[in-house]
């Protein structure tokens, strides 16, 4: 077994600054309402002299324009769960652990070509999500977490791949990196036990008797002598993510950067499930319960963040927002099976089909679905009805094997009444008949009965039209098509 632990230091602050770092001092507060204390402070606040553990009142005295956000343990838990769901793209065994997640990656090493490549892929992914994490790699989850915490504190730790080498890697690490109760740690400090080296030299039974069995079990799990089973996080069968913006965003462009972070998170989650989404709802929240809904729909399940972002960009470019946006909420309620796209070195038929669908999606996103369509032959002999539009994606339709007389390239939306001189119709000059008549009639079954004689006729300029004489009603001449 090989475990990768991700530790997210100052998680509450990371969540608050995920949509973009704020330049003003910002702290996260915790504790009783009367005397909240600072749990994390951003760079600007630290530069002003604010420290962790300070009272918020003292911090406010140090930095005048200090923004204080209360700590939200629920949001932290959700963020870690979503991170675990996102990490499912690397391994099926990912779970929330402390202020981070742990992944079992032994079985994924081959796919990602080694632990170094895998951990750099994870690092890159975390960065794209808008988080930063310290990474520890070890044969047990607790040791991996220990290494990650050590890295977060700036200690140099080399990852350990074999259980045999674990002892020598951990012995120099301080005990306070472990999640032990403060009084236990204080007690051990009094005894002069500061590092794991000292701890591991103590007899196990004595440790269990004096500090409680939990401590002994923890040491056993850390060193791999006791089993440490974990339950993989099972994400709900939908995707939801909400991101608060660091400042009110007026335009649409400013939304794309935070939106991309959410889409990357969604892509990882979907990858882990082998799923894609066909419908997405993006809510732009403006505050005071005002929000704007943006629907994103695709012809087939999609998950690539950059593609979805390009569609969203076109959609967002079309709307005018009534107010500035303060938060984004992305929801996908149905996760569908995703058919992975094979990629080839040479662009072939499959590649074309993908480009084709993508092109249609993109056009439809900006212009509207009704403005982008395919055409097909309809099941009728009347000219108005023997064609039809088919929606965006083009399926291979069976073309009825009907021999048609020559038909015009353009069909007018509705026939246009022609002026006649005597009994000769004219379109910028008298028309002379080239072919016809072709009688097209009937249609009593749907109430749109026609009785027309169609002719092909040209004017002196050589412009050729498809005209007909109406035999019902006004007996007039009409223009219906152009032989362009």
């Amino acid at each position: 077994m090989l475990w990768v632990a991700l530790e997210l230091p100052a998680l509450p602050l990371q969540i608050a600054e995920r949509a973009g770092a704020s330049r003003d001092p910002l702290v996260i507060s915790e504790g009783p309402e009367q005397r909240p204390v600072v749990v994390c402070a951003n760079e600007a606040a630290v530069a002003a002299g604010v420290r962790e553990g300070q009272a918020v009142a003292a911090a406010k005295a140090l930095a005048g324009d200090l923004r204080v956000l209360p700590r939200n343990p629920e949001a932290e838990r959700q963020a870690l769960e979503r991170l675990a769901a996102w990490a499912a793209q690397f391994t099926p065994m990912s779970c929330v652990d402390g202020q981070g997640i742990v992944l079992e990656v032994e079985s994924s090493l081959k796919l990602f070509a080694g632990h170094a490549k895998l951990s750099s892929a994870i690092r890159r992914g975390i960065h794209e999500l808008g988080f930063h994490a310290a990474i520890g790699i070890a044969p047990t989850p607790l040791a991996a977490r220990l290494f990650a915490r050590a890295e977060a504190r700036g200690l140099q730790v080399r990852s350990c791949l074999e259980l045999a080498g674990l002892r020598e890697r951990v012995v120099d690490l301080p005990l306070f990196l472990l999640d032990w109760p403060a009084e236990t740690l204080a007690h051990l400090t009094d005894l002069g036990v500061l590092r794991l080296r000292d701890m591991l030299e103590l007899p196990t039974e004595g440790v269990a008797r004096r500090f409680g069995p939990a401590i002994a079990v923890c040491l056993g799990r850390l060193m791999g002598t006791l089993a440490d089973p974990r339950v993989p996080y099972a994400p709900p069968p939908r995707f939801r993510s909400r991101l608060e913006l660091p400042a009110e965003a007026d335009g649409v462009e400013a939304l794309l950067f935070p939106l991309r972070r959410m889409l990357v998170e969604m892509e990882g989650t979907l990858r882990g499930r082998g799923a894609g989404v066909q419908q997405l709802v993006l809510w732009l929240e403006h505050g005071r319960k005002l929000r704007t809904r943006v629907d994103l729909e695709f012809a087939s399940p999609e998950r690539e963040a950059d593609f979805i972002l390009s569609i969203a960009r076109e959609k967002l470019g079309r709307i005018t927002l009534s107010a500035a946006t303060i938060a984004l909420d992305l929801r996908a309620d149905a996760l569908l099976t995703y058919a992975p796209r094979e990629s080839t070195w040479l662009p072939g038929a499959r590649e074309q089909a993908i480009g084709r669908e993508r092109l249609i999606e993109r056009l439809a996103a900006r212009l509207g679905r009704e403005r982008v369509f395919g055409i097909a032959i309809g099941d009728d002999h009347r000219p108005d009805r023997n064609w039809k539009t088919v929606s965006g994606t083009i399926s291979r339709e069976i073309v009825p094997d009907t021999v048609f007389a020559e038909r015009p390239t353009w069909l007018l939306n509705r026939p246009q009444r022609l002026i006649t001189r005597g009994d000769t119709p004219s379109v910028q000059g008298d028309l002379s008949f080239i072919a016809g008549p072709e009688r097209i009639e009937s249609g009593w079954w749907d109430g749109a009965e026609v009785r027309r004689d169609y002719y092909m006729a040209a004017n002196p300029r050589g412009e050729t039209f498809w005209i007909f004489r109406e035999h019902r009603g006004d007996q007039g001449w009409y223009l219906h098509g152009v032989f362009a």
Partner: protein, 227 residues
Amino acid sequence: MRATVAQLAQLPGVWRGGELEHAAKPVVATGYDALDRELPGGGWPTGTLTEVLHDAVGIGEVSFLAGALARACVDDRLIAWIDPPHLPYAPALAHSGIALERCLVVRPAHREDSLWAAEQALRSGACGAVLFWLAHDEYAWLRRLQMAAEAGRAMAVLFRSTAAERLSTPAHLRVALAREEGALQIRIPKRRGPPLAAPITLSIGRSSAPGSPAIFAPAHPVLVAVA
């Protein structure tokens, strides 16, 4: 290093006056030998704009491209019709051999959108042919389309009025159409090669003798006037 004239002529975009350019990109045969002979590379170019200038409508300005369109959509590529003046009529397209399931009609609401749609279609590489009718003539916009066409590999045809002949164009090829005595006359005001001496005449489409019998045999009952 000295290059001989023969070597220079091998460079893309370099050709001798009096000869046609050797097209670097594949061309789509027009289906008319007389026309193929006069076009660089022997057909409609891909990856660059082609302008078709015409004033009269209904002279066969679209159907003379039909053979090339049928060939352009091989390997499953699309034929995009962007903002056509009327609806392309499915039976006519099917009749001329164009695969209907490859046709994509785009009817944007305004001119910025049609320019954008044309650009997207050209760039995507998913289109074998892009036909567009734009209601504006600004050189800068055409230049943008030319760039987009170079990025893709579609046969890109822009339909304009002959008034545009006086204006300069970034397109590499320009043909002007007129109907004379029942035949389609094609002039080539711009091509990468020597000027065309006499217009090409293609007798395509319908016979123009008035009153001649119908030239088709429809499946359903049709009254045919016999001369």
